[in-house]
Symmetry: C2
Subunit: 192 residues, 2 copies
């Protein structure tokens, strides 16, 4: 089988907010404003930020990623979870049941989350063509091999196939990227 | 070949100081004091800390690890290097030539380092018996496989054989440990 290469996309800590929570944190009728369009065309880094607190500390100015979602979701690193004193649940986006709670604070109010605070689980977005060529479907796992000074192989990278995906894209968090000494936009190799 | 398991030892940021630099930072004749004995019998975490600065920021209260060494050496993560604005050189301990500079500040003075600031290169301490059984010598590289939710294989882990080593011990930094969701004292598998 020919080798497949994948572009690495590194996520910094961020938060997705529900409509209800945008209003509780920023005021009735408030609309998030776009600071920068992200790789996936619909998403944007907002100008707005919130503080995220746990029993042991606070992460200040956590960037909101819009647009609004059905469920509020906080994505932080293991080190950040430890800093604020919440458990690090490694979860795919949207899989929030039983994850960590946190308190959000905005300019107009605060929100107490009972769950929704996660460490993002590594995953790879597949085009339909690539998935078909490798005989893979959404939910399957592959490994992602990084070369260089801190070479490593990430196992258990869950794949997501979508007809809108234009290219193979592996999502890692900052600690995973730093452990492999790679940065946003670098290339890695898919191993089935 | 039988599987070899290794204990993981996770290093937080820390600094080793030369005698000259202890005196410049803490005063003439000053002796570091031990807060906690570390795994390797001679080493201790000192009560003393210093601030480490680069062009973009400062890491406050970086723990000193004693005893004194011939050369001052600062060990930080890739994220911390980025925060203070110095390049992240991944190096084995003692291999400091051409690494990043930094400014150290203590209660009695400061020191400007031209080099000595590194990100620790992952390595495995071998007993003579284990090295002999796997036909490995100091400087060879192995891989270290971690299971679980964030399973991964660390490649290029350099080995160090010493007759004083009592057991196999893999040294990782915090970002490597968090990327694999393992903690100090956890077990991993050596792959030749």
């Amino acid at each position: 089988m020919e080798k497949k290469f994948v572009t690495v996309n590194v996520s910094n800590r961020h938060i997705h907010l529900s409509r209800e929570h945008v209003e509780m944190l920023f005021g009735a009728g408030y609309k998030l404003t776009s600071k920068k369009v992200l790789m996936q065309p619909i998403q944007f880094a907002a100008n707005e930020t919130v503080d995220v607190s746990g029993p042991k500390g606070t992460l200040e100015n956590v960037r909101i990623v819009g647009p609004e979602r059905i469920q509020t979701q906080v994505e932080i690193t293991v080190a950040e979870a430890r800093k604020i004193g919440v458990e690090a649940f490694v979860r795919l986006s949207g899989n929030l049941k039983g994850s960590a709670g946190a308190t959000l604070k905005g300019p107009k109010g605060s929100v107490k989350l009972n769950e929704g605070c996660i460490v993002a689980k590594r995953h790879v977005h597949f085009t339909e063509k690539d998935a078909s060529e490798m005989n893979l479907k959404t939910g399957d796992a592959v490994s992602v091999k990084v070369s260089g000074e801190r070479a490593l192989v990430f196992e258990n990278a869950v794949i997501r196939v979508d007809k809108n995906n234009a290219e193979l894209e592996c999502h890692l968090d900052i600690e995973e990227a730093n452990a492999a000494l790679i940065k946003n936009g670098d290339r890695a190799e898919i191993i089935k």
